[in-house]
Symmetry: C2
Subunit: 454 residues, 2 copies
C-alpha cells in the first residue's frame, strides 16, 4: 500500500490532467444537445479503465449509456463494486461562472469545474487509487467492479432495471459510493442512514359543485375549512406528529452514532441562515440533526382548492386537496405508516364531508449498521486518508440508487463522500478541494487494502 | 286603477305578443357576435316607451348602450325609478333546450324563452302597467323613470359611473326592481336585505424558498401547516366564527321579519339536495335562513401553496396563500370587520412565520327597513296583485346595482321579484309563469296607485 500511496503523490499532476480531460466533456444528461457528450464521457471512462487493466465496456440503455468494468484478479478476496456517474447538471446561468464551466481551473487550492465534485472528481479518486495500486504493485488487493452511469442527474431512470438484469455481473461483497459530502471541512464522514418516503394525498369533497357564497355561505360546509382542520390535526402545537402509532417502529440511533454527532461542528444559527427560515421547528426534545436524520416527518407538500386565479370569486369551494409525504426512518414500513395516517385522517373527517385518502409511492429508509466489518474497513481507510477519525453522519433524504443496491441486491453500501457542503454542486462555480481529492484517493487506496484483510 | 286592471286583462294577448318581439332579440351581452342585438333590444324598448308617451332615449356607454325614459306628468307626486335589464345570458348548451332559446313558447302555463324571467319578462310587467294606466286613464298616478341597461349579465361594468354622472336625471323617491324571485310559488316576496362582502387574503411565508424535504423536513416550519392552523383558528368546531368582535354590530332581524320567515315553506332536506351537500353547517343555534340572510360568515374561497402540479415533489413549501371573504350583514363596517379578522390572524401567527394580511374590496350590506311608507305601498300592491299578503325575505348575496342606488343615490329600493326559484335563469329552458307575469303586472299597476297616496 505504501508504494501505491507514493505513486499517487508522485503522479499528482498527470492524474489531475487526466481528470481535466474528463471534466472538459460537457456531459449534461438533461440537455438533448449534449447527448453525444454523455456518450463521449462514457467512452472516455471505459478507455481509461481498460488502459488500467480493468476490462470495461460501454452498455446501452434506453437512455444514456453506462460503463461497466471489472478486475477479478484476486480470487478468494472480497469484491468491491464502485458506483459513480459521469453525467453532470446544466450550467445555466452562464454569466455567474467566474471561469468557463467546462474549463478546469485551480484557484486557492480548489478545482473549479462543472462535475468537479458531483461526481467526476469524486469518482476519479477511485480510478486514481486503482491506477496507483496497479502501477505500483501490478495488482489490486481485492476484486473490483465499476458501475458508472450517465443518467444520475436525471433520476437514473434506466439504472435500476439494468442492475436487476445484471445481478450476476454485479455480484459483490460491498458497494462504495463517493457522491455525497463530508459533514464539514476536515470531517471525513461515513453516511450510515438515509430516510425513506411515503407519499399520499388527502382529498376533501363537501359537495357536488362550488356554491355561491352569498346564497349558501354560512349554512354549508367549506372544503378548505375541513381540509385545514384535518391537516392541523396531524401535528400537535409544537411539531410532533399526532398520528397514533406513527413513531412505533422508530429506532434510537446507536450510542456510537450519538457520540459521533456530538463532536460535529453543527451550528444552529448557520443552519437557520442556510435554510432561509426564521427559526427551527419540530420535535422540541430532539436536536436539529436528530430531527433530520433519525426522526420521521409528516410534511405538507402542496395544497389546492377553490379559486386559484387572480382576484376574488364568491364561492364556497366543494373540493380541496393536500399533497403530503412522510419521511421515514429505518424499520418503518411505508404501508404501515400510511395506514396509521389514513386512520387518523378518517378520525378527523367530519360526517358532512367525503374524505379520500390516496396512497402514493413508498420507499423504506436505508440503514447501514455501524458494526459491520465493511464499515470498520471504511473507518480505518478514512482515518488513513484524512489523518483523523471519521464521523458517522446520516442523510435526511433518499438516494434512490442506494435503495436499489440495498433492497434489490442486498449489498451493504459505504457512502464515503469527499465533497464539502459548500461545493455548490448543481450551481455556478462548482468546486472540489484538491486536498480532499488527494485525501479521498489516499482513502480509496487504503480502503482496498483494508477490505482485503477483513 | 280598476280601469287599468281591466285594460290589462282585456289586452293580455297583444301585450304578450309585444313582449315576444323583445324576447326574440338574442341580446346576449357576453358574446361579441350579439353586440348589435343588445343595441336592437335597447332601441326596441326606447321605441316602446316613446310609443307609450314615456320620453325615452338610447344612451351610449363604453360598452353596451342603455335606455333612459321618463314621464313626469304628475307634479307633486312621488317619482318612481324602475330599473331592469334587456341583456341576457348565453344559451349554450343549445341541445338541452326543448324549444329554440329565442322562440317564445307557451307550455303548461309557462313562457319558455331566454330572458323570460331574467329580466325581459319581469321588466315588461312594469311597461305593461304603465301602458294599462296610460291607455285606460290617459295618465299615471305618479312620475315614472325607467333605467334599463344592457350589461347586467356581464357585471354592469359601466352603469355605476353612468348613474353617478346622471344623478340629477335620476332624482327619484324610490327605486323598483323586479329581477329576483318569489321565495316559492304563490309567495309574493319583498326582499329587505342583501349581504355585503369583505374580501381578504392571508399569506404565510416560512422561508425564502421551498426547501428539500429530505435535508430539512422535520426541522423547519412548513407554510401549509402554519396556514392550516391559522384557518382552523378562525372558526370553532361547530362553525361559529372565532374572531373577537366579529358579531359585535350584527342586528337581530325584526319581529315582523322573523314571523314572516316562520311562514315560509322552507324545507331543509330540499335545501340540502339543491346545494348538493351531505348536511348543513354553521352556527348551530340559527336556522338555515337566518344563517344565510342575517348572519355574517367567514369563507375560505381558495387556497394554494407548494407543489400544485401532477405527481409528487420532495419539498417543504415556503409560501401558502388563502383567499377569503366575509359576507356581511347590515350595520357591519367592512373595514372594522377586516381589522378584527386581521388581529385574530396575527394572534394565530406563530413567531417563526411571516404572516401577511391583504385587504381586498369591501361592500357593506344593504338593509331595507320594513317600516317605511314605500315598503307599505309595495306590501299593499303585492297583496292586490297576488291576492295574498307578501312575505319579507332577504338575499344572502349582494346585487351590486342595488348597492349603487342605496349608497350612492341614497334611494330606498323595492326588490319585488316575480320569478320563481326554479325559473332556470342562466340555464337552458328558462321560463316565467304567465300567471306570475299577470300578477306582477297587476302588482305594478297597484304599486303606482299605492305610491301616489303615500
Amino acid at each position: 500500500m505504501d508504494k501505491a500511496l507514493k505513486y499517487l503523490d508522485a503522479h499528482r499532476d498527470p492524474i489531475l490532467n487526466e481528470l481535466f480531460e474528463l471534466l472538459r466533456i460537457p456531459s449534461i444528461s438533461a440537455q438533448r444537445e449534449h447527448v453525444n457528450d454523455v456518450r463521449k464521457a462514457a467512452e472516455w471512462v471505459a478507455r481509461k479503465l481498460n488502459a488500467l487493466g480493468i476490462e470495461a465496456k460501454v452498455f446501452e440503455t434506453a437512455g444514456h449509456p453506462l460503463v461497466y468494468g471489472e478486475w477479478l484478479g484476486a480470487p478468494g478476496k472480497p469484491t468491491v463494486l464502485f458506483y459513480g456517474h459521469i453525467d453532470v447538471q446544466p450550467v445555466e446561468p452562464l454569466e455567474e461562472w467566474q471561469t468557463p464551466p467546462f474549463e478546469p481551473t485551480i484557484r486557492e487550492g480548489n478545482l473549479y469545474c462543472r462535475g468537479a465534485s458531483d461526481d467526476k472528481g469524486q469518482l476519479y479518486t477511485h480510478l486514481a487509487a486503482a491506477e496507483a495500486w496497479l502501477a505500483a504493485d501490478g495488482t489490486l488487493p481485492v476484486n473490483v467492479k465499476f458501475l458508472i452511469e450517465g443518467e444520475e442527474e436525471i433520476g437514473s431512470p434506466n439504472l435500476p432495471a439494468w442492475i436487476n438484469e445484471h445481478r450476476e455481473l454485479l455480484a459483490a461483497d460491498v458497494v462504495v459510493i463517493s457522491d455525497t459530502a463530508q459533514f464539514a471541512a476536515d470531517y471525513p464522514s461515513l453516511c450510515t442512514g438515509l430516510r425513506g418516503i411515503a407519499a399520499f394525498e388527502i382529498e376533501v369533497r363537501t359537495g357536488s359543485a362550488d356554491l355561491h357564497s352569498g346564497s349558501f355561505g354560512g349554512a354549508v360546509p367549506n372544503a378548505i375549512e375541513v381540509l385545514s382542520r384535518i391537516l392541523t390535526g396531524l401535528h400537535d402545537e409544537v411539531g410532533r406528529v399526532s398520528v397514533p402509532g406513527f413513531y412505533d417502529d422508530v429506532d434510537e440511533p446507536s450510542a456510537e452514532e450519538k457520540s459521533s454527532w456530538s463532536r460535529l461542528p453543527f451550528d444552529e444559527a448557520t443552519f437557520i441562515a442556510s435554510a432561509g427560515v426564521k427559526a427551527t421547528w419540530g420535535e422540541p426534545d430532539r436536536s436539529v440533526l436528530e430531527r433530520i436524520w433519525t426522526r420521521p416527518t409528516l410534511e405538507f407538500v402542496g395544497i389546492m382548492g377553490g379559486h386559484q386565479g387572480q382576484g376574488h370569486k364568491g364561492i364556497v369551494p366543494a373540493r380541496a386537496v393536500a399533497k403530503c409525504s412522510a419521511r421515514l426512518v429505518p424499520k418503518q414500513d411505508p404501508k404501515k405508516v400510511l395506514e396509521a395516517i389514513r386512520q387518523r385522517v378518517m378520525q378527523l373527517a367530519p360526517p358532512y364531508a367525503e374524505v379520500l385518502f390516496h396512497c402514493g409511492h413508498g420507499t423504506p429508509a436505508v440503514s447501514i449498521p455501524t458494526d459491520s466489518k465493511w464499515v470498520a474497513a471504511a473507518v480505518a481507510a478514512l482515518e488513513k486518508g484524512f489523518g483523523s477519525r471519521p464521523v458517522f453522519i446520516r442523510e435526511g433524504g433518499s438516494i434512490s440508487i442506494v435503495t436499489t443496491f440495498v433492497r434489490d441486491l442486498h449489498l451493504p453500501c459505504l457512502l464515503m463522500g469527499f465533497g464539502l457542503p459548500d461545493d455548490r454542486i448543481h450551481s455556478p462555480n462548482e468546486k472540489f478541494s484538491l486536498k480532499d481529492f488527494q485525501r479521498g484517493a489516499r482513502s480509496s487506496i487504503a480502503l482496498l487494502q483494508e477490505l482485503s484483510v477483513r
